[in-house]
């Protein structure tokens, strides 16, 4: 089984603080990997390195065998990388469906030349984007609030919109940063189902989550990170049972 996303020898430090210490990690299509570790272990930093938000000191990241080296964030996204954000980062000036409609990989409405001189192509892309958005909203149970503004919906629904928006670009690899934090009840189940469905469609998923129950319910495998290092990889049960890791996690 070859990996969808390969991380090799990734290093990054800010001054004296090491957030990534030669990390090697593979994300495999159809599987959900959970990143576990205390605050400051470098989980979100790893996402930022993979997305190109932060430049690594050394190491490389490859998606389907193609290197991300030197590529800006938007190009990585166009190659099939998607992510959600811990602090959501939805577009408050847009409705839910408009938040989604920006997302398809091949959607040339961000090119002014195309907008001015290829109206037919833009109309076709716009229609595709709308159909895709409506489909994803349907699947994630968000259809009733498609035309709401994002600040008018519940926090859990906002999280789900973040996931739905990330789905728009038909990604090969999806990074979810705390998708369940602060979410309860029905929305919890909806997000869980959405993530499982995405994995089943052949996407490699990586989840950062503090909710151990969610990691256990959702992830095929877990990785324990501490001080920028990957300390252990295995089933979530194994990681939770390891007294050494538990000690690091709770800092006793």
């Amino acid at each position: 089984m070859s990996a969808t996303l390969e991380i090799r020898g990734l290093c990054k430090s800010f001054g004296g603080i090491v957030v990534a210490d030669s990390i090697d990690l593979d994300l495999v299509a159809g599987r959900v990997l959970g990143l576990i570790g205390p605050n400051g272990a470098g989980k979100t930093s790893l996402f930022n390195l993979v997305c190109g938000v932060v430049k690594p000191d050394a190491g490389l990241v490859m998606l389907d065998g193609q290197s991300f080296e030197g590529l800006p964030t938007y190009q990585r996204a166009r190659m099939g990388l998607a992510r959600t954000w811990q602090n959501l980062r939805l577009f408050p000036s847009l409705t839910v469906i408009d938040n989604l409609m920006l997302g398809p990989r091949a959607y040339s409405a961000d090119r002014l030349v195309d907008v001015l001189f290829r109206p037919a192509q833009i109309r076709a892309h716009e229609a595709e984007a709308r159909d895709r958005a409506l489909d994803i909203l349907e699947r994630t149970g968000l259809s009733p609030i498609a035309r709401s503004r994002v600040q008018d919906i519940s926090f859990g629904q906002q999280k789900l919109v973040g996931v739905a928006r990330a789905l728009m670009n038909d990604a090969r690899c999806l990074l979810l940063d705390e998708p369940m934090a602060g979410v309860e009840g029905q929305t919890y189940a909806l997000i869980q189902k959405a993530v499982r469905d995405i994995a089943a469609s052949g996407v490699a998923i990586c989840v950062v989550e503090h909710n151990v129950a969610f990691i256990r319910d959702l992830c095929d495998e877990g990785v324990f990170m501490f001080a920028g290092k990957v300390l252990a990889r295995g089933s979530v049960e194994q990681l939770i049972a390891d007294p050494h890791l538990t000690e690091l996690y709770f800092g006793t």
Binding site: S93, M101, V115, I145, A146, S148, N169
Partner: protein, 303 residues
């Protein structure tokens, strides 16, 4: 009557300037106040091409627009690659530097100004025709910007303004959107500049300085950013106001300072009392109504 025509033309030109400036600073969120320098580039390029090489005026005006568009890229590409904040500094530097340069460049009239710019339409068809041309182009500009900002590209600009990082993560290239909007806004200003040059037939560098920057900015802010009619109303009000007080027959020693005070007072008044401008932009981007989809609003859908 010529007085009325001149005012109508100035209103038309400033509607074009203010609307295109709103596209840049309001819709795209690019903080630059150097819009008049692109107006100047359009004016000078068109004037020189028609005067020196006898190019037909409509073509020279178009070239002026293209010149302003290309010049804007010179400023925007390096400035925006670093960070958006540099655009303000780079554009002011570009504006003031170019004005100084023009003052010392005698081929284009230097500080004394460029005179005898070929006129257009007026001799053959009268001033009315020129008024109609300028006002028609003002209407076209306003409608074009409305079309652009309410279509898919407007959605892109809105999202980018809200959160550039999240926008990039969706595979969208924010830098090129900024460069493109800055270019098209500047190109439109350049065309307005050409129209100015061939009507007034005289240009001097100091016309296009920071005073004019603040005038255009005031039109946009007072009228209402990110609204279709805001910059239009702003341009009309701020063009008419100084004209109206001249009718009070005040001595020039009072009139001059009064116009300045009125201007500043207006800005201060709006800052404190109505910061959103005369027309307030909706805080939700809606866009054109897609077919078979009218009548939904955010409020209805979420109740």
């Amino acid at each position: 009557m010529d007085y009325v025509y001149t005012i109508l033309i100035l209103i038309g030109l400033f509607v074009i300037l203010a609307s295109s400036f709103d596209l840049v600073i309001g819709h795209c969120g690019l903080i630059s106040i150097a819009h008049p320098i692109f107006y100047a580039i359009g004016a000078y390029v068109s004037a020189m091409l028609s005067k020196q090489s006898g190019m037909p005026v409509p073509l020279s005006i178009l070239c002026g627009g293209v010149g302003a568009l290309l010049a804007s890229a010179l400023v925007a590409v390096p400035a925006l690659r670093v960070s958006g904040d540099y655009l303000l500094i780079a554009s002011i530097g570009f504006q003031l530097g170019l004005i100084e340069l023009a003052k010392h460049f005698h081929e284009i009239g230097g500080a004394g100004g460029l005179t005898n710019i070929p006129s257009f339409l007026i001799k053959d068809f009268g001033r009315e025709t020129y008024v109609v041309l300028v006002l028609a182009l003002a209407v076209v500009t306003v409608l074009f910007i409305r079309w652009l900002t309410q279509g898919p590209y407007g959605r892109m600009m809105t999202a980018m303004r809200d959160d550039e990082l999240a926008f990039s993560m969706l595979g969208r290239n924010a830098i090129w959107i900024k460069v493109a909007v800055f270019a098209i806004g500047s190109g439109i200003a350049g065309i307005a500049g050409g129209l100015y040059a061939h009507y007034f037939r005289f240009l001097e560098p100091d016309q296009f300085g920071l005073l004019q920057s603040s005038a255009v900015l005031t039109m946009v802010v007072v009228g209402g950013m990110r609204t279709t009619m805001g910059p239009v109303i702003g341009a009309i009000v701020l063009q008419l106001m100084p004209q109206i007080i001249t009718f009070f027959n005040l001595p020039p020693s009072i009139l001059g300072p009064l116009q300045g005070l009125l201007f500043t007072g207006l800005v201060l008044f709006f800052m404190f009392v109505r910061p959103q401008g005369l027309l307030a932009a909706a805080d939700l981007w809606v866009g054109h109504k897609p077919q078979g989809d009218a009548g939904h609003s955010g409020k209805e859908a979420c109740s």
